[in-house]
Amino acid sequence: MENKIDIVAVFKQAAFDAEGRHLEGLTLDSKLSELAMDSVAVMETIGVFEQRVGVRFADEDLARLTSLRDLEALVAKARRVA
């Protein structure tokens, strides 16, 4: 059985590793568009997030991503496929 991942904590660390950004008040309902990050910063953060979690999201799934809750669903999907 896969370990439960704290999506918020991992994303927060990924944002720091990728961008040196401290994201405060982050929750699963946080919208990526409300994090004051540009698209490159978001993609960099997601790249590091994928490395940390050990998954790879399909581009077409990323294109629909809006919130951390979506990210949680993508992790679950990626793990089902793996």
Binding site: G20, H22, S39, G47, V48, A63
Partner: protein, 269 residues
């Protein structure tokens, strides 16, 4: 890094393919291919006119785009000639938009002249130094511009402006063709120096801004209006970032970390 003779030859062939398609299938006339006879039935919509004026303003920096770009590209025949042709095609974009504003009566000749004076009072500076970086910038800029025009075409048609919709459609078709050429050149460059191109691509993505964003009068207010068509962070990722990478055959994971701002310490240190 200079382009190798073999790559230069391939870029020339890519240009000839692009140019042949443009000559045979994509040429259009400001005078004959825009349904000017439908002007009477078009709405006089302040938001549409404002957006058309903004697009027109960005296109008006053409002398700077061509002047600065062509000197960077001149060492490679295909890229140099592409830029000359690009200048011709882009020149029609601002002409069509000027004519739209003037013929609909939404701007007077005096207003257009004043706007032109404000635009040309400032000079655009190229955002990147090398031909390779400017080619990579071209990929993102042309595709972003295409997406903008495509979305604004839909908006214009939704509001019943058939003329503006037709203009945006013609321009969008040019922009996506320009994107295709830059993507083809990039695929050649990647074969010569994949790591170097990836480094430059990450750098260009990281520092990308739309052309003349800091030059057009009242740009912040204008761009806010223009983005109401749905050009936000998600759209940029879904409709520009990912398709651009796919077109050149680079995966996003290959770029991860290449443009990282600074080496951070521990989060809670």
């Amino acid at each position: 890094m200079a382009v190798s003779p073999a790559s230069s030859e391939r870029i020339y062939r890519e240009y000839m393919t692009f140019f042949e398609k443009a000559e045979k299938h994509r040429r259009w006339s400001v005078f004959d291919d825009i349904p000017w006879d439908k002007l009477e039935s078009c709405p006089r919509d302040a938001d549409l006119a404002r957006c058309a004026e903004t697009f027109c303003g960005v296109e008006m920096y053409l002398p700077d785009y061509v002047g600065q770009g062509i000197n960077v590209m001149r060492e490679c025949f295909g890229r140099g000639w592409f830029l000359a042709n690009w200048g011709y095609e882009e020149s029609k974009h601002s002409l069509a938009l000027r004519e739209y504003l003037r013929r609909t009566g939404q701007r007077t000749d005096a207003e257009i002249t004043d706007y032109e004076r404000q635009i040309l009072a400032k000079q655009w500076q190229k955002p990147f130094e090398t031909a390779q970086q400017m080619t990579l910038y071209g990929i993102i800029q042309e595709l972003t511009t295409y997406v903008f025009y495509k979305k604004h075409k839909q908006l214009a048609l939704t509001r019943g402006d058939e003329v503006l919709g037709a203009i945006y459609g013609l321009i969008a078709r040019d922009e996506v063709a320009h994107f295709g050429f830059y993507a083809a050149v990039t695929r050649v460059l990647l074969e010569d120096d994949r790591e170097g191109v990836k480094q430059d691509l990450a750098h260009v993505f990281r520092n990308f801004t739309m052309p003349a964003y800091d030059l057009v009068p009242d740009y912040d207010e204008r761009v806010k209006l223009m983005r109401t068509v749905g050009m936000d962070q998600r759209a940029f990722i879904a409709e520009v970032w990912l398709p651009a990478l796919k077109a050149i055959g680079v995966s996003r994971t290959e770029l991860t970390g290449l443009s990282r701002p600074a080496a951070p310490a521990e989060l809670h240190a």
